[in-house]
Subunit: 347 residues, 3 copies
């Protein structure tokens, strides 16, 4: 794979400064690029490495337009880097056709050019769209439906009746459609609430490794179009996540909570059950959200508070020992003052 | 599957208000029920949806006895819903017999009507009770023992010598019997403490997806009868969990800690090692428990404190910036007052 | 397996008190040891169990040298216990050779005495060193490299091009080399940053069950020599962890962060992206580290603070309601005092 700098500038819609016919064969970080690579500056601290970089050319924002090297100038260098990286990415290799070491149940429907690797189990009446890829060790339950161009990495489990849309990516070890956690304490122990629902994963969703997305108790758990989940994320039964939301690693969301569109949850965030996070909500890493948040709210902390309030409290926390000390001094002074006045008035 | 309303009322031991011969074919939430479904009201906010619901009948508490629809009146509608859902749940389908695409080691003992799906590996001298179900992709180590009617969902791993009781359910991706985390820092690095123990899972336990339950260093890690674990729960070596306790998703318990009976731990709770949580302890989501808790204690926060103390502190946290401000004002007033008095006494 | 007490004393470099020819057949905890076992005292609270213990002999520190039982006296009894346990540990059993129920891709290179169990998938051009063990259900991508004596427990996934060193241990369910979480919000949703890098696991690393270690976006994610990870740990793309660091269960580290050597992170700790934890840093369980920490720093809390500061603040937090109450009283007294003085001066 090779491209000229001019071709890349055109692809990116960027301004070319340098030889249009310069040949680029890859993309690499500023300190690892060879003379055949293009690199990029996304943060100030990387700019100082530019001089020593071996890179053939740089993708930069207008701020660095005077750098005396071949450049493509764009408004968003990180996006441009991602676009070029997409271009140079090696194609993902998949099993050619259907392995005879896989197991396919009865009445399985397969689209065109499906890839099914060895040691894949596909339950009865499952339906796979065109160009679906199921890598080794995946298990699909009965009546599972998977849309066109969806890709399951190795050792993914999709339980009975769950449905995945088109162009979905599921990383290894993820489990979709396990029973939700529903038990009612009774005298003899805990009575299980049967989990009769399902999971729906909409188009263009990407789910990281070792996530768990439980089926609804009744009805669905639903992950909206374009949502991206990092690794080890837990979605409980009947959760819904709106379009294009981003959930960072180890987030957990309790049952029946509705997460809006374009919500961003930081790593290890916990969200209580039966609440709503409005569209555009942002929650900082490690927070515990126990109440409904209005659209656009930015929250932080345990329990989560509005961003500014959290910062203010946190700053004052450091002063807490000092506050206590000063309070004691004030009390002492006041005591002395009153004692002095009492003596005076007696005198 | 169909049942009359009268049959359901009898099953639930509830009071019937409406036609006993009304035919019910399923159970569904209040806003999704069809005219063949029974539904239920478990919370006030759902009651207002009753009028518009298409449901044929309602399971309600005495509070809603005057609802002008066919009713079954019970003291605990949520439990009754679960019981009816159990009735209408489709049977779980399993591999009929033993797949010739599975691997069985030497001297494996199998009970009657065991189900072993393709791509299951069962180590030497494993013993499976009657009607055990092992779904695709599971791996059982050597000398593993599994009691009657236990069910392993796909891609579960049970390592050597671990023992599961009867009527246990393990969801996909869970790992039972990996080595506990035991290392001693030495000059050359970290010396591994061999993990020679095992894991015992007692009867009627249910374990969610992608959990990890480590084997004891010496002796056992033990999960007591009827315990229910949600997804992504971590139990370290030599932990014991008492009967009927409930651990919500992403809980982690460090080594050798003893959790009592009927304990409830909220999502993402962390519990330190070598402590005890007494019977009936309840810990709120996200808390970090660093000390032993007496039976019945309710704790919250990081580090965990008694529930009331936590709420009181948390309420005052919001006032912390104000407290600081008011303290500074008091100091200022006191300074002015003393200065004034000093001037007066000089005068 | 049996050893005399004298042989064990020599192995441990400890002082023998008792019959050198006493035969020991195992090691067990103080309250579970039989008359054929040696046991050990590592904590005071176990010492009181010594009298009743059936153990044939004890490994103790000099503090317990007067215990009237056969003894081996050593400076570090816990290390000595681990060494004896290593001696008595049963050998780990592995598949003899290469199963014909495994799948090996084209141009796979295998060292001597490799063990490949049933239902293992090995991608094209993978290279396995001598005595590598791949247990059932593992999936190795293309061009994966695995060093000599490395051991993969069942159902591990290693994606394309990742490299593992020698004497590495990976526990079940762990996923190495899934895509890092890189997305750029654009109008149409989120643009995926291709994850073109890889993962390098150095020699003697041990990784727990159900961990996720993502590949670099460009370049590597690297886990240094001798590092030990507990279960359910998440390392994001381009993280590096220095030699001999210990990360307890459910830790999550965000992208590009550099963790130094011999760092210890407690359970459920979260570490922000693009920061550094210096050599020897220690972070208490559940903390959230948002800033770079200097070598040797000890931090705690959310957000993490220096250890002493955290303890001081936490102690004062309990006093916060009292502080507020006392502040109000001071204000009231001051008001009354000023009112009294005003009346006086009017009089």
């Amino acid at each position: 794979m090779e491209r000229t700098l001019g071709e890349l500038a055109t692809l990116l819609g960027g301004e070319l400064k340098g030889p249009a016919d310069l040949v680029i064969r890859g993309i690499a970080p500023i300190d690892g690029a060879t003379s055949q690579d293009i690199t990029f500056i996304t943060q100030k601290r990387y700019a100082r490495l530019a001089e020593k970089s071996q890179a053939a050319a740089f993708i930069v924002s207008p701020e660095w337009a005077s750098l005396p090297r071949p450049l493509i100038i764009v408004p968003r260098p990180q996006l441009a880097y991602a676009q070029v990286a997409t271009l140079f990415a090696p194609p993902r290799r998949r099993w050619p056709g259907i392995s005879d070491q896989a197991y396919l149940g009865r009445d399985v429907q397969l689209g065109a050019e499906v890839s099914i690797a060895p040691f894949v189990f596909i339950g009865d009446q499952a339906r796979l769209g065109d160009r679906v890829t199921i890598m080794a060790g995946c298990v699909l339950g009965q009546e599972v439906e998977i849309g066109a161009d969806t890709w399951l990495y190795p050792n993914v489990t999709i339980l009975d009746r769950c449905r995945l849309g088109e162009r979905v990516t599921i990383h290894s070890g993820t489990v979709i459609g396990a029973d939700g956690f529903g038990f009612i304490p009774i005298e003899a122990g805990n009575y299980k609430i049967p989990q009769l629902g399902t999971v729906v994963i909409e188009d263009e969703v990407e789910i990281g490794a070792n996530c768990t997305i439980d089926r609804g108790a009744l009805g669905e758990t639903r992950v909206g179009q374009g949502v991206k989940l990092d690794n080890l994320v837990h979605l409980a039964h009947n959760v819904t996540v709106g379009e294009h939301s981003l959930l960072v690693a180890q987030v957990g969301i309790a049952g029946s909570t509705k997460v809006g569109k374009r919500v961003a949850l930081g790593g290890q965030v916990g969200v209580a059950g039966h609440i709503e996070l409005g569209d555009g909500v942002q929650v900082g890493a490690k927070a515990a959200v126990s109440h409904t948040l209005r659209p656009g709210q930015v929250a932080l902390g345990i329990p989560a508070r509005p961003h500014r309030e959290f910062l203010k409290i946190n700053a004052h926390l450091s002063k807490l020992p000092e506050i206590y000390q000063r309070l004691k001094e004030v009390e002492q002074e006041l005591r002395e003052l009153k004692a002095g006045l009492a003596r005076e008035s007696e005198a």
